[in-house]
Amino acid sequence: MCTDTDIELINKVKSGDETAFSELMRRHYRGVLNYIYRFTNNRETSEDLAQEVFLRVYRSVKRYKPDAKFSTWLYKIATNVCLTEIKSKGRENNVSLDEIYQSTGEVQDQSGHSAYDVVFRKQVKDLIFDALRSLPPRERMAIILCKYEELPYEEVAEIIGCTPGAVKAYVHRGRMKLIEKLKPYLRKEVKGP
């Protein structure tokens, strides 16, 4: 197992070591893939875009200066790729929140039936994707990076290009909007006798 830090690997890549780049991909591919997946909700597209991200990193690796963490730089590139994709694709694969609500009912209604589980998981995924997609880009990015990538506000701020305070505000605002969007699917208040 390789114990080099990301920066050490980058330096090796700069001097022409391709195996070092493979190691960097091994470490970060899953994270980048899933980050993109939250934006596209499509596995094939996410795989292609993740490859595109690493291709851009590989092409510009000589320009990388270790002022920021490698992962910050990587997610910055991934964010740009995602935003370009969102702009070019518009609102494809649109799943209406109301449609899902009508067909699925509430989250609490899930049964243990396996076929139902598959459909249910797909619908929940689409539901969350749709709710996240309805947020303004910065709120969406902030929530995805904080919630799914578990990055601290400081790092998210560097990726998005704002202050940590602004990231916190984006997350809070986005969370409030998600509550409104997903309210119909939350467990109802159980009233006492």
Binding site: M25, R43, I128, L178, I179, L182
Partner: protein, 159 residues
């Protein structure tokens, strides 16, 4: 603590210290609005966890290097050439603009040259115009000879 402060904690959940969690729990006992918000905010965050991660395909590294090889085989593009010359982007833009202007100027002159087709009718028209011009010139000369310059004439009259 005020509802506003508690709301901030609620929206940070679960990234709270035990002390902050204690304060939230204490507050929501007596505040139905914050209690509802706490419940919904917590649940929404949990619902997001239901969107499961995907596993990368096993051959992603291989596919990546294949793509790199393919790009290398396709050879240098103009962009790569500019990059390899280490020209800054401003210089690149200037180069592209100069090339574009040169192309437009060249094509404009080429176009105007190629468009001019002189027919026999044009030559005849030219001759007629030339004759007319000569006639007018000789007529003007005659008039000048007879009457002199307009200024001289009018000045003479006045004098």
């Amino acid at each position: 603590m005020s509802c506003k402060d508690i709301k901030e904690f609620i929206l940070e959940y679960p990234n709270l210290t035990p002390d902050q969690i204690g304060r939230v729990k204490e507050h929501v006992k007596d505040c139905s609005d914050c209690s509802l918000l706490f419940k919904q905010s917590k649940e929404v965050w949990e619902v997001l966890d239901m969107w499961e991660e995907i596993e990368p395909r096993g051959d992603f590294i291989l596919r990546f290097w294949n793509r790199v090889d393919k790009e290398r085989k396709e050879g240098f593009s103009l962009v790569d050439l500019i990059k390899s010359l280490k020209i800054r982007w401003i210089a690149s833009v200037a180069l592209v603009l100069v090339s574009l202007i040169a192309f437009l100027v060249f094509s404009f002159f080429e176009h105007s040259k190629s468009d001019v087709v002189i027919t026999e009718k044009d030559i005849e028209d030219d001759k007629i115009l030339l004759e007319l011009e000569n006639d007018l010139s000789s007529e003007t000369l005659d008039l000048l000879y007879i009457y002199g310059l307009w200024n001289e004439k009018s000045e003479g009259k006045e004098g």
